[in-house]
Symmetry: C2
Subunit: 236 residues, 2 copies
DNA sequence: TTGACAAAGATTGTTAACAATACCTCAATC
DNA sequence: GATTGAGGTATTGTTAACAATCTTTGTCAA
């Protein structure tokens, strides 16, 4: 009997609205449809999601606590604009954490997780084949979340999700070449190393992969883009 | 020139009150002065900290988003009571993350970080020598945060702090023997391995250390304690 | 044209009152 | 005696109005 068969108590009871707003903005950032410095005005979000100002403010606070948006006193909330230093922090953290993730995954992975990973990589290939830019970006990031999900560990998954989302902001800001997002079949190689049970190789692959992404960045540039918040979030 | 010498823009502007409340509760949990299931009523917190209800609610939302408190609709906020499964999640995550932390630290650590670590360990010894239970508990947990701080990485440090704090809850709930918290000189051994630049050994030491703590738990028990919230938080 | 200054408008922050829900007490019934 | 239900109390959730701050606009002078 699995422990998950006993869902007697549902613990977190944050209202669905709130989580929905957070998730929408998370997705939009992950797909680079909301660029850094984009203002998220309370009124606009209330309108877009059809909720009261309180919900919006709570959602913004949550996003702010995770570094996705930047809350400025009396000035409003803006999609976070990571500094080069913050970018390095995120990549360093990912290196430290994700090597551990794949190592332990290589040591012991469930069949279900393997299926999930292979399915995901197929989706990535399909998106690349059709040149669906938005899908490619989203799936490239989500791959790392799927890796984390392999551990069935909510805490870990949440942390990885935050790091991956912030990486999207970073790549959007500092990405120079288009292939910098998540290239080639590096994802597939990581999965194969894991499935083969080669912890050392998997660790090395993920390490190179992350460094590869980082090398595709120009940490000096700072681009500024404005976007139509309501339109983007509505169509999500 | 260090990058930290350029504090031109202060980005996060969360009011001091809010952060103060969160920090106080964090500390109290870390020192096991607030036991799981303790109710944090809004009125009591308003009184204790002398702030409006809005601030309290925002602080509670933040704590809830990090799994420190459990927010129940229409019922209030309670110090989180981790299930055995959650406990395993926290320890698994710590294993994956902290091995990476010490490995990279062993590869490259600043003199300043070494000083910080040694100073901290001296404090731990002093607290143990004087049998200051509260200090011992706090410092034992903080050691791991100091490790993270060695990377001067705010993101990483925040994540470790969350995991360490949740560990305090877990140890408080499921700890069987008193020595289970953070025993012997394992911390010192970890630091020495790092200073010696022996990544392999450091990784192994931290791994054993975490497993050691976990082995001191009885994940079946579920203790229930009530505490005087206002008194505890005020004296912090 | 450019800059500084002031007023108007818009946006965010805060408070207080109200609504909804849960909790507790107590009585009535089985 | 235990259980169930109703009513009152306490606590949380929500809304709306108000206050504070920032931003923009327009005017005037250099």
């Amino acid at each position: 009997m699995r422990p998950s068969d006993k869902p007697s108590i549902k613990k977190i009871d944050i209202d669905a609205d709130e989580q929905m707003i957070v998730d929408r903005i998370y997705s939009a950032v992950m797909e680079q449809r909301l660029a850094p410095r984009t203002k998220l005005s309370e009124a606009a979000l209330c309108e877009t999601f059809g909720v009261g100002r309180m919900r919006v403010r709570r959602a913004l606070l949550l996003l702010g606590s995770q570094g996705i948006v930047d809350l400025q006193s009396n000035r409003g909330a803006y999609i976070s604009c990571p500094s080069p230093d913050e970018a390095r922090e995120v990549f360093d953290a990912r290196l430290m954490i994700e090597t551990g993730v794949v190592r332990k995954l290589a040591e012991n992975i469930s069949d279900h997780a393997i299926t999930q990973l292979r399915t995901h990589i197929d989706k990535e290939d399909a998106a690349r084949a059709q040149q669906e830019r938005t899908d490619i970006i989203r799936l490239s990031g989500e791959f790392h979340v799927v890796l984390a999900k392999g551990h069935q560990n909510a805490v870990l998954t949440r942390m990885i999700r935050e790091l991956v989302t912030r990486t999207s902001l970073i790549v959007g800001l500092f990405g120079s070449s288009r292939n910098s997002s998540c290239p080639d079949d590096e994802h597939r190689q990581i999965v194969e190393a894991i499935v083969a049970g080669d912890a050392e190789l998997a660790e090395q692959k993920v390490c190179h992969h992350l460094i590869h992404i980082q090398n595709g960045l120009d940490l000096e540039r700072d681009a500024v883009k404005e976007t139509d918040v309501a339109r983007i979030l509505k169509s999500s």
